[in-house]
């Protein structure tokens, strides 16, 4: 938590009331908070104070969320959590493709916001680990390509392992259908979401009932998949 105490956040939203409430919540959770109400001001603020993470509303008076994200990604890799109203999948996918790390739908709960932020910052600080990773009953060792359950190996096909690897490397983050298709089958598979669905169903079957029922693998309707490292944590509940 000492890491969190020093983390600084930039919150970008044109709703003053929401800014005020988020400031109270985030400062109480130990973050340093800076604010911006417009896209251009936000970009200036990033260059000036280089925050550890950015919370970005997709609807701003001057620039669109995607424009801000593109400009941001041309200057830094700071993790970005986007805020959006409505379950507008197209906007969310556009934001994720433009470089956002995660999204949260308004109205969101305090626990959910803080959990997403923790995940974002943890990932930013993470060092590549050679040790096997655990997801409930599942053990994954990316270095040796070993996947098992209670010490017993689960045999995966090359494509199934690639899919699992993609999810593990991006644990707790959304991997969009588009990313999965491009990584596994290349550009000619663009738009063929049923490839993803078919392999995800196969993978799920092989990983076992226990792992599946615990909710480690979450589908985000119309957007992608997320491998959750701690299902049941408050941040896991979707808006």
């Amino acid at each position: 938590m000492t890491e969190d105490l020093r983390s600084s956040l930039l919150v970008v939203d044109d709703e003053e009331a929401l800014l005020a409430v988020m400031r109270v919540t985030l400062e109480a959770a130990g973050y340093r908070v800076r604010e911006a109400t417009q896209g251009r001001a936000a970009l200036g603020e990033v260059a000036l104070s280089s925050p550890d993470a950015i919370i970005l509303d997709l609807k701003l008076p001057d620039l669109s969320g995607v424009e801000v994200l593109r400009a941001l990604r041309s200057i830094c890799r700071t993790p970005v959590l986007v805020l959006s109203v409505l379950k507008d999948e197209a906007t969310k996918v556009a934001a994720l493709d433009a470089g956002a790390d995660d999204y949260i739908t308004k109205p969101f709960g305090r626990e959910e916001l803080l959990a997403r932020l923790r995940t974002l910052l943890r990932r930013a600080n993470a060092v590549a680990s050679d040790r096997p990773l655990r997801f409930g009953p599942l053990e994954v060792d990316l270095a040796t390509q070993w996947v098992g359950r209670q010490g017993r190996q689960i045999k995966l096909s090359a494509t199934e392992f690639q899919l699992l690897r993609l999810l593990v490397v991006n644990a707790d983050r959304i991997v969009t259908h588009r990313t999965i298709l491009a990584e596994l089958w290349g550009p000619r598979a663009e738009g063929r979401v049923h490839y993803v669905r078919t392999y995800m169903a196969k993978l799920r079957l092989k990983l076992g009932e226990e792992f599946d029922a615990a909710g480690y693998l979450q589908s985000e309707s119309g957007i992608g998949y997320r491998l959750v490292s701690r299902p049941g944590e408050a941040g896991e509940a979707r808006p």
């Binding site: 409505l86 379950k87 999948e89 197209a90 109205p107 089958w185 063929r192 979401v193 049923h194 490839y195 669905r197 078919t198 392999y199 995800m200 169903a201 079957l205 909710g215 979450q218 589908s219 985000e220 309707s221 119309g222 509940a237 979707r238 808006p239």
Partner: protein
């Protein structure tokens, strides 16, 4: 009433029939004069004013030219015959007026119905939004009066009020999207198990501790649907099952396929009190709510769910008998998946 080509076609064919009959019995020209009158009046009740006048002119010309002796030439009119032709025009005008009045009444009835619906929406809305707002406001006031001291009971109630407001707004936005025709389903391949799970997760707060049995057979094909719409449909059905049945009643969600009819489905089944037959079809209408409602609601959930299914080329049906629970089934055409992944 607007005059269309189809209406002129109708007039010409009716009058041609009468004229043909008149040519077969040329001696009965007096009777045919009256048959023309009847035809003009009957037609003018169905067509626009201009077309009615056209029918009167055509009848007068047809009667005179084809039937009044000498046939196949224009004959000078006797006073009685002039009067009858005058009456053609009178009949056309009167019929036209009656038709216009009927259209006016129909329009007024539709307007009244739409006003009624808006009134129902407005009343429901006022109640559904004002009630949780009232809860929030008095909870805040109370906590302020206690010098900012929070109370567990007030916090629980505030949380419920917010969840309720959120649900009302969500359904209202969906309803408006459908009404305005903005809704364009984005069809793609979905795993039915994913759909059921994300619907359940999205309603986790409101479903509380209700046990829900999920069953999807392993070989079930992928669905071709709009994932977000399907999730909302299943969520609405789950929420209904939870709200309209006693806490002990079992809820089950199953995916399946009806191969002979080339359909796939997701079914939400409960073991609650069931729905009386007379209420079953009405339940899908807007602003109609089931009996014994504990929680509030706008009565939009099922209407929205059915429209979402129809927008995807599917359907939402209900099977229920009093005392034997209810089963809502969201149907989709069975997809044909030929392009298998490498």
């Amino acid at each position: 009433m607007k005059t269309t080509h189809r209406q002129y076609g109708e007039i010409v064919s009716v009058l041609a029939l009468i004229t043909a009959a008149g040519c077969l019995w040329p001696r009965q020209y007096d009777i045919f004069g009256e048959i023309y009158l009847l035809a003009v009046f009957a037609l003018s009740l169905r067509v626009g004013r201009l077309a009615a006048l056209f029918a009167a002119v055509a009848s007068a010309v047809g009667w005179n030219y084809f039937m009044l002796p000498p046939a196949f030439a224009f004959a000078p009119l006797r006073p009685g015959q002039t009067l009858l032709i005058g009456i053609y025009f009178l009949a056309a005008v009167i019929g036209g007026q009656l038709a216009a009045a009927r259209v006016g009444r129909e329009r007024a009835r539709l307007l009244a119905r739409s006003e009624e619906l808006h009134q129902a929406l407005f009343n429901g809305l006022a109640h559904e939004i004002k009630t949780p707002l009232a809860v929030l406001r008095s909870a805040l006031d109370e906590m302020r009066a206690r010098g900012g001291e929070p109370s567990p009971a007030l916090l629980v109630e505030s949380g419920r009020a917010v969840a309720r407001l959120d649900h009302v707004v969500e359904n209202l936005i969906n309803h408006t999207r459908l009404e305005s025709g903005v809704l364009q389903p984005k069809m793609d391949w979905c795993d039915p198990l994913d759909l059921i799970r994300s619907a359940r997760r999205s309603q986790a707060d409101r479903l509380g501790l209700r046990a829900i049995d999920v069953r999807v057979p392993p070989g079930l094909p992928l669905f071709f649907a709009d994932a977000a719409l399907m999730e909302q449909v299943i969520a609405n059905l789950l929420l209904n099952a939870a709200l309209y049945t006693p806490p002990a009643a079992a809820i089950a969600v199953e995916g399946g396929s009806d191969a002979p009819n080339r359909k796939v489905f997701v079914r939400v089944r409960d073991s609650g009190p069931g729905i009386p037959p007379e209420l079953q079809e009405r339940l899908f209408q807007r602003f109609v709510r089931g009996a014994g409602v504990r929680a509030g609601g706008l009565g939009l959930g099922l209407a929205v769910a059915r429209s979402f299914m129809r927008a995807q080329g599917g359907e939402l049906t209900l099977a229920s008998a009093p005392g034997r629970g209810a089963a809502f089934t969201a149907w989709l055409p069975a997809p044909e998946l030929t392009d298998l992944p490498p």
